[in-house]
């Protein structure tokens, strides 16, 4: 899974870099040597044109323009570097502190910042110069200070975004100080946007300095200045244009060079497949025929969609990588086909390729994609648009972003319907000519009729209160409502085929269940054919008769659902089938009874009594009457939970279950001191946390060795600070040497199934499972008294979930750890926990 880190150097970057280095070399050389003295006046040579003797000619006093430009460039660069140093240095400090701490100081400073930044800096500089006097030092200071807000703003917004990430929170839990977090954790992660801001800032500084100098208020003689030269040359511009054109051109080239270089420092939002080079793409089209499936039967008569030898490729660091290779399948009319596989197996790409929705994210080639007798590979865009939405429809994974945020949803649905009403109208006109005018009129539906179509589709998709929703914006609706809207959009015109790409993955279990139920009903009512894509075999089982199993872009198994689940032939399919069946894996005998404690006070009390009964065990954590309220004493006051009592004994694994929004994560955050609370928490020893999303819980700019080292270092510091460590275990009192710490890190990595070679890697080079293993290693290496696990496997692929969970259980046994485990999956909790309670 190691991602290629190769960066493509674009030609514009190359040009910029060369230009910049040439200019810098001249500027630096100009400090030591110029062909003529800058102030050498020679009236005999007044305004002589450029020649070999005077490359850029001479000015009205016979001074050599080339020498003046070179030393002027040096001065300009030095001045703008000084300005940038002041601006960026102060800006990064102000931005970092205001962004990290927030609060009233942040409000005031940023309001001041905004007011200052909204003024044109050159005007403010003019005013300041008039107050404090001109002169080089003054110009540098004044402009430097005026540029502070632009840097502070960038750094602040990056800090606000970054501080919410789990790796920053985690550092706080380990006991890293605020200063350490700001400078060691967050700052390295924002360097890209900071450098980009500096490159833009240097340019603004150059332009501002030149502007001031042009007005005669910037750098003062004898220091040469490009802006002033330009102003001086303007009087005899027709006679001797070179006197002002050359300084101007040099300013322009310098700014251009910085801009070209900085352009390539900014990160790109997405990678276009065409970045992989035309030659690679041509080869892809040529080669796909060679990898074709051995043989495939021609589709049967009632086949609605048949795909033959589909290949899809994306741009991976400048190279084309196939994500779907030689896929063939059929969907008969009235049949549902499930495609199952883990993330990255190419299942979504397949769906997009069939709908021709890949855009410039990927290229595809196929021998044939035949839908209802039409070859989609070679179909015209116009005909394709007539098919899309009315014959084939699609429901996407991301209900939150799949609707236009600035349009009312009713209008969006109506527009989609209208598009096809127009198509149909045109077709009828062509076919019937003037013969059947009535039917033409029927096709010409009024907007009222369109609205009725939309409303009935919304009703069919299971939405209540359709009239209100019709006039709502997407952000006013819940995820489930939005997904129903997308389903309504898909079924509004009664298509023959509907492609569902993980339609329930982003939703809560309960809502997902209802959506699936509705899809089942719709499938039967409309006699829809369906392609259903999911990573979850059990979801597929509810809707599909046939299943395709995909892995790494290849179809590894196909058959009826029963065949696949009863007798999987491929090893991966076997893993997939057993995934999620936690009882079989861990044995369900451990948990005697499941106290389903649902906001039920009596039951909670029963749990605490149980604990008292087994009182001999050492209690690690005891929570009494805990209550957490957000935005207390304001209008937005929100009670997350109240009256929570529980305790955790040493060596136990206690589970907490609950729906999303029930405050599970908040409870853990409260335990590690990240939230204010009422009530009592007694915690003996350290509690560390493993977060749900391994993509944000590891610091992207730190190597794994450094992370593991940090944790050990911070633990040592904390135990020394507490003072108690000295009496309790003297072994931990002295800081282990660097090699000892490294040894321990390696040992820990081996324990979690990684090895020494991972020490030098950064999180970007790891797969999801490897990241979560690293996160676990970080939490366990210092052997804390309590490990809090926040949905530790939810973000992972199903087959990986099992391995990580096994690892957790093994570590618990080896180190005698105590777990507090959060999950929405009651089966999982029942399988691994000693006790469970519900929030």
């Amino acid at each position: 899974m190691a991602r290629k880190n190769k960066k493509h150097i674009k030609i514009s970057f190359f040009i910029g870099a060369v230009l910049l280095s040439v200019l810098v070399v001249f500027a630096v050389a100009g400090f030591f040597y110029t062909p003529y003295s800058v102030e050498e006046v020679n009236y005999k040579l007044r305004l002589s044109a450029p020649s070999l003797k005077h490359f850029f000619g001479t000015d009205n006093m016979g001074r050599d323009v080339f020498s003046r430009v070179v030393s002027g460039l040096g001065a300009t660069l030095a001045v703008s570097l000084g300005i940038t140093a002041i601006g960026a240095g102060m800006g990064v400090l102000i931005g970092a502190f205001t962004g990290y701490f927030g609060g009233i100081a942040d409000e005031i400073i940023m309001r001041l910042n905004d007011t200052l930044a909204s003024f044109p800096s050159i005007l403010l500089a003019l005013v300041c110069v008039s107050l404090f006097g001109s002169g080089t030092a003054n110009v540098v200071w004044v402009l430097g200070v005026l540029f502070i807000p632009s840097y502070a703003r960038v750094v602040r917004s990056e800090f606000i975004r970054e501080k919410e990430k789990d790796y920053v929170k985690n550092a706080g839990i380990y006991g890293a100080s605020h200063l350490r977090i700001i400078f060691l954790y967050i700052l390295p992660n924002i360097k890209e946007s900071f450098f980009a801001a500096i490159a833009i800032g240097i340019n603004n500084a150059i332009l501002a300095e030149a502007g001031l100098s042009y007005l005669g208020l910037g750098v003062q003689p004898p220091v040469p200045s490009l802006g002033r030269m330009l102003a001086e040359g303007q009087t005899f511009i027709l006679k001797a244009p070179w006197v002002c054109v050359f300084p101007g051109a040099v300013i322009m080239l310098t700014v251009l060079a910085f801009a070209l270089v900085s352009e390539n420092l900014e990160s790109r939002d997405y990678v276009s497949v065409f970045g992989a080079g035309r030659k690679n793409i041509r080869n892809f089209y040529k080669n796909t025929a060679a990898f074709s499936d051995v043989s495939y039967e021609s589709p049967e008569k009632d086949t609605l969609l048949s795909v033959r030898n589909l290949h899809v490729a994306v741009n991976d660091g400048g190279e084309l990588r196939e994500v779907v290779s030689g896929l063939s399948f059929d969907v008969r009319s009235g049949q549902s086909l499930g495609i199952v596989g883990e993330s990255g197996s190419g299942k979504s790409m397949t769906a997009s390729a069939v709908m021709k929705l890949l855009g410039n994210k990927a290229v595809y080639a196929a021998d044939s994609v035949l839908f209802d007798g039409k070859e989609l590979c070679s179909i015209k865009t116009k005909e394709l648009n007539e098919l899309r939405g009315s014959e084939i429809a699609m429901v996407f994974q991301e209900p939150m972003t799949s609707l236009n945020p600035t349009k009312k949803v009713g209008k969006q649905l109506a527009d989609a319907v209208k598009t096809h009403v127009k198509h149909k109208k045109r077709n009828t006109q062509v076919r019937l000519n003037e013969k059947n005018a009535e039917e033409t009129a029927a096709a010409d539906k009024t907007s009222e009729e369109v609205k009725q179509i939309v409303l009935s589709a919304m009703k069919d998709a299971g939405l209540d209160d359709c009239d209100r929703i019709y006039n709502s914006y997407p952000h006013q609706l819940s995820g489930g409502q939005r997904q129903r809207l997308l389903i309504a959009m898909a079924i509004a015109l009664k298509p023959k085929l509907i492609i569902c790409d993980e339609p329930t993955t982003a939703l809560d279990a309960e809502i997902a269940d209802k959506i699936l139920e509705r899809l089942e009903k719709l499938r039967d009512e409309y006699r829809l054919s369906m392609i259903f894509i999911s990573h979850d075999l059990s979801v597929i089982g509810r809707l599909c008769e046939r299943v395709i199993v995909m892995k790494d872009g290849i179809k590894i198994e196909e058959g009826s659902f029963k065949e696949i689940t009863d007798s999987p032939s491929h090893g991966y399919t076997k893993e997939l089938v057993s995934a999620g069946k936690w009882h079989e894996l861990f044995g369900s005998g451990k948990l005697k009874s499941v106290p389903a404690v649902n906001e039920n006070q009596a039951a909670v009390r029963k749990l605490t009594e149980n604990v008292r009964a087994s009182g001999q065990k050492t209690m690690i954590c005891k929570v009494e009457n805990l209550c957490v309220t957000y935005d207390k004493n304001t209008k937005k006051e929100l009670k997350v939970f109240e009256n929570v009592d529980f305790s955790v004994n040493k060596g136990e694994c206690v589970g907490i279950s609950g729906k999303s929004g029930s405050g599970k994560t908040t409870l853990l955050k409260t335990l590690v001191g990240m939230t204010e609370y009422d009530g009592k928490i007694e915690l003996s020893g350290r509690a560390l946390m493993v977060f749900q999303d391994p993509y944000s819980s590891l610091n992207p700019s730190m190597k794994i060795e450094k992370m593991l080292d940090e944790v050990q270092l911070l633990q040592y510091r904390q135990s020394r600070k507490n003072g108690k460590g000295a009496e309790k275990n003297s072994a931990k009192n002295s800081l282990p040497s660097k090699s000892d710490r490294r040894k321990k890190s390696v040992e820990m990595l081996r324990k979690v199934g990684l090895d020494e070679s991972y020490l030098s890697r950064k999180p970007a080079e790891l797969s999801g499972g490897q990241r979560q293993r690293t996160a676990i290693a970080l939490a366990v290496i210092t052997e804390p008294e309590l490990v809090l696990l926040d949905e530790p496997v939810t973000a992972l692929d199903v087959t990986v979930q099992e391995k990580v969970l096994k690892l957790l259980m093994q570590l618990k046994k080896d180190y005698g750890l105590t777990y507090l485990l959060i999950s929405h999956d009651l089966n999982l909790l029942e399988a691994v926990c000693d006790r469970i309670f519900a929030l």
């Binding site: 005013v127 802006g227 027709l238 251009l256 801009a259 006013q476």
Partner: protein
């Protein structure tokens, strides 16, 4: 409610600006009486003038007196021209405003279509040419561009008469005909910036999931662009153009110097050189209030255009 809040915050900022302008030009430069009389004056003379000018009162009293004057259009007297500042500013302000307005109209008319073409033909030849030209235009300082326009269009091809400024009071048509060229010098670098911003905003918008939904419904590509993508991409661009307007005003000030236009810019530079503080004070106040008001209008239009922001408040 939102608009009331905005209005209040606008008022607060304007008051802040007046306080800063007052402090900067009435307190920092030192004793105004000494400045007026010169260092040769005797102490009695200075003291008498101080009393006459009311400099012996507290800062707050002086500010109140000054602010009252400003409200009734009295900005004090120019020490260099020896005439009321308000009179001095009147015509020049209108000239500069026209220059800035012309530049802004140019920016909007030219950059929106260019950005659309560029984003539709992403990475094609036309797009690359537009991007390359944009890089160069962004690097040109506006005063150098002004000099080039004078050299090429004015002196070589004689499209316009250099220095042939006509006041808008005398002949409005000729005034605009002359102002187009300085406006060009102000606008070109900003056009390049706006095209770059709007282009990337359009491309980003086209990658969003809802566009995929529209495509999956069979909506033709030009309709997606015209009715969905363009509007959503223009929302952040409005803020961006709001920021540029401040810079356009600043650019106008410098370009006036290049083309010899008797506007606010030349007056400003003159006043800086002669330390004519009451004129400076008035100009700063004027530009500050203009910029803040424009930003406030931008915020409100942003608020109107984006329902997600509107409903959150």
């Amino acid at each position: 409610m939102y608009y009331v809040k905005k209005l209040l915050s606008l008022t607060a900022t304007v008051i802040l600006i007046t306080v800063l302008a007052f402090l900067a030009f009435s307190v920092i430069p030192g004793d105004a009486a000494v400045l007026k009389l010169g260092t040769d004056a005797t102490e009695e003379q200075v003291e008498a003038l101080r009393e006459e000018m009311g400099l012996n009162d507290g800062v707050a009293v002086r500010y109140a007196r000054w602010a009252k004057g400003v409200l009734s259009g009295d900005f004090g007297e120019s020490s260099y021209y020896n005439m009321p500042t308000a009179e001095l500013l009147g015509e020049k302000t209108v000239t500069t405003l026209w220059l800035a307005a012309l530049a802004i109209i140019m920016i909007i008319i030219i950059s929106v279509p260019l950005a659309i073409i560029s984003s539709v033909r992403e990475n094609g030849i036309v797009d690359r040419i537009i991007q390359f030209a944009g890089q160069i235009c962004m690097a040109v300082p506006s005063f150098f561009l002004g000099v080039l326009i004078i050299l090429v269009l004015g002196l070589t091809f004689k499209v316009f008469t250099v220095g042939g400024y006509v006041s808008y009071k005398d002949d409005f048509g000729k005034f605009i005909g002359y102002m187009i060229f300085p406006a060009m010098a102000v606008a070109v670098p900003k056009i390049a910036m706006t095209v770059k911003f709007l282009r990337s905003s359009l491309i980003k918008e086209k990658q969003k999931d809802y566009v995929r939904t529209l495509r999956a419904c069979g909506t033709p590509e030009f309709k997606i662009l015209a009715f969905d993508v363009l509007k959503n991409a223009l929302i952040p661009t409005v803020t961006f153009v709001g920021l540029i307007i401040a810079e356009v005003l600043a650019g106008s000030v410098i370009v006036e110097q290049v083309f010899g236009i008797p506007g606010l810019g030349r007056l400003l530079v003159m006043s800086v050189q002669t330390r004519d503080y009451s004129v400076l004070q008035a100009i700063v106040l004027y530009i500050g209030c203009t910029v803040v008001t424009v930003n406030c209008l931008v915020d409100i239009s942003y608020h109107l255009a984006d329902p997600t922001v509107r409903n959150k408040r």
